[in-house]
């Protein structure tokens, strides 16, 4: 039995066009032959699916026809939930808005940066607080001044100026000529020099050379009996770098020795009239002698610029000699002859200092 014949049999069986006899025969066949049975089931299912498929197409056609009658557009408008205009605006234009916003931010930041507003606020503030500090300070000064004036008036007594400015000086000759710094005796009303034994002598300024910071004094006190022969002489030529130098002076009420070496041929800010030396000095050392190992005076300590750490300056001896020559002869009541014989050379340092200290004076200045 061919496939076609079987299919025809199945169809005829299913649509009921078989005779009763044929039907019984076929049912017997179905029962006995599993293949026939499965073919029947398969045929039923397949034809069923085919029919359903046809029905589905039919239904879809009907639904489409119905759908075409609906005004979908109008309906869509009606049922769509329209977001608020802000949200719509954002959805439609968010890229443009973002770009605009970033440009705006950059522009603002750029402007702030270029005009310096971003970083200058703090410093402005600091300046302001400094200004306030200054004003506070000057206010306080004013207060204390006012108070002291009031006190003065109340107490009706004058405070005598105790400020005798101290410096150092050293003898040029045995008859009482002494050299010191100009800034030590500047604006002085009266000048006294005090020797190592504590004896003070009244002196007068006979010559000054502010440019080289040199001043020459003469002891004109009756108590003064003259010094012994000056043990050092004055070096005319300049001194070499690295040479050991020392000084002796009165940074405070007692004599102090200072040792160092010559560190530069020029002084403060390249001043060619001075040396730079590595001797720790105080303002009181100003006007003291700077001597080399053999006891030659090579300069005058000038301790005006104390702010330079570890360094001091000294006026070169050549300028001292020049200054002495420049003293007008009218100013000299006695002859000023410099010693040319050095009696310190070869002595040990303590012995040198022992001799030296008699020729080095504390310069005391009184002004009103």
């Amino acid at each position: 039995m061919s496939d076609n014949q079987l299919t025809e049999l199945i169809e005829r069986y299913l649509d009921g066009s078989m005779t009763a006899e044929e039907g019984t025969q076929f049912e017997l066949l179905r029962k006995n032959d599993a293949t026939v049975e499965s073919r029947v089931t398969e045929h039923l299912q397949f034809i069923g699916l085919l029919k359903q498929y046809g029905e589905r197409l039919e239904l879809e056609k009907r639904l489409n026809a119905i759908h075409d009658e609906i005004d979908v557009h109008a309906l869509k408008e009606e049922v769509t939930i329209h977001p608020t205009w802000v949200v719509r605006m954002w959805r439609n234009h968010h890229s443009k808005i973002s770009v605009a916003a970033s440009i705006a931010i950059f522009a603002i930041l750029g402007t702030l940066f270029l005009t310096g507003k971003l970083n200058s606020h703090e410093s402005n503030f600091e300046q302001l607080s400094q200004e306030i500090g200054k004003i506070k300070h000057s206010q306080e000064t004013l207060n204390t001044r006012t108070n002291s004036i009031i006190n003065d008036i109340k107490g009706s007594k004058r405070v005598t100026n105790p400020g005798n400015f101290r410096g150092t000086g050293f003898a040029l000759s045995s008859n009482g000529y002494i050299v010191t710094n100009y800034h030590v005796i500047k604006d002085a009303d009266s000048v006294y020099v005090q020797n190592a034994n504590g004896e003070s002598f009244h002196s007068k300024v006979i010559y000054t050379e502010p440019a080289n910071d040199i001043a020459v004094l003469q002891i004109n006190d009756e108590a003064f009996e003259g010094l012994g022969a000056v043990p050092y002489n004055f070096k005319r030529s300049s001194t070499d770098l690295g040479e050991n130098v020392f000084t002796i002076g009165y940074p405070d009420s007692k004599v102090v020795y200072g040792l160092g070496s010559l560190t530069s041929a020029t002084g403060y800010q390249g001043d060619t009239t001075e040396y730079q030396v590595s001797i720790p000095v105080n303002p009181g050392n100003s006007g003291g002698p700077l001597l080399d190992d053999r006891g030659n005076v090579v300069g005058i300590i000038n301790a005006k610029q104390t702010q330079v750490a570890g360094a001091a300056f000294a006026v070169k001896s050549a300028y001292l000699l020049k200054a002495i020559q420049n003293i007008p002869s009218d100013s000299l009541s006695k002859s000023l002859t410099l010693n040319t014989k050095n009696t310190l050379a070869g002595l040990s340092r303590p012995q040198q200092l022992k001799k030296l200290k008699n020729y080095v004076f504390m310069v005391k200045v009184y002004n009103q």
Binding site: E60, V72, H73
Partner: protein
């Protein structure tokens, strides 16, 4: 936010009876009554009107078949049933298109209808297999198959239409066509 959609809705039992009786008017009423609700669901959840049409028609077909098969019980409102099926179908399609953000804006209550939707999908697969098998079958087989099995035309009609002089020839042709159609259908994966 929800807009009440006002329509004179036919009663649920009217619709069930109408569909069982193949009433075209009832089908149309059913369709037009609930379409706006589904359109609202779809267009407010990343879809457009064509998506709404597809989804809605599928849901109607699911409902139609269920009523026709006699398995439908009016345990819930038709409205809720349709909405639930559409919602389920749309969620599936959204995740299939990678457009599902994990959140859907709902407008109605809904029921779990996974089983129905899955059955429907299974059947859809069978139908699309059948469709392509018929396409591959070619003429005149395709028309013969459709005429005889779908449109229930008699062999007499078919003989006349295709000019077969002998009814036996036509029959043989029909069986050959059916054989090929089955083969094509079962070959597909």
């Amino acid at each position: 936010m929800n807009k009440e959609l006002k329509t004179s809705a036919p009663t649920d039992s009217e619709i069930v009876l109408g569909i069982l009786n193949n009433s075209e008017i009832v089908l149309k009423k059913l369709y037009t009554t609930y379409f706006p609700m589904i359109l609202q669901l779809i267009v407010n959840n990343n879809g457009d009107e064509d998506d709404a049409k597809d989804i809605y028609q599928e849901a109607i077909i699911v409902l139609y078949n269920k009523i026709k098969s006699g398995k439908f019980e009016l345990s819930s409102k038709l409205k809720t049933y349709i909405y639930s099926v559409c919602r389920r179908l749309w969620l599936k399609r959204l995740s299939h298109m990678n457009r599902y953000g994990g959140d859907i804006r709902d407008f109605e209550e809904y029921l779990p209808v996974e089983e129905e939707v899955d059955d429907h999908n299974e059947r859809d697969i069978q139908f699309s297999k059948m469709e392509s098998a018929l396409q591959l079958l070619g003429e005149p087989c395709k028309t013969i198959m459709e005429d005889f099995y779908i449109h229930n035309r008699s062999m007499q009609d078919i003989c006349e239409r295709f000019g077969y002089t002998n009814a036996d020839n036509a029959k043989t042709q029909k069986y050959k066509c059916l054989q090929r159609l089955k083969k094509l259908f079962f070959q597909q994966k």
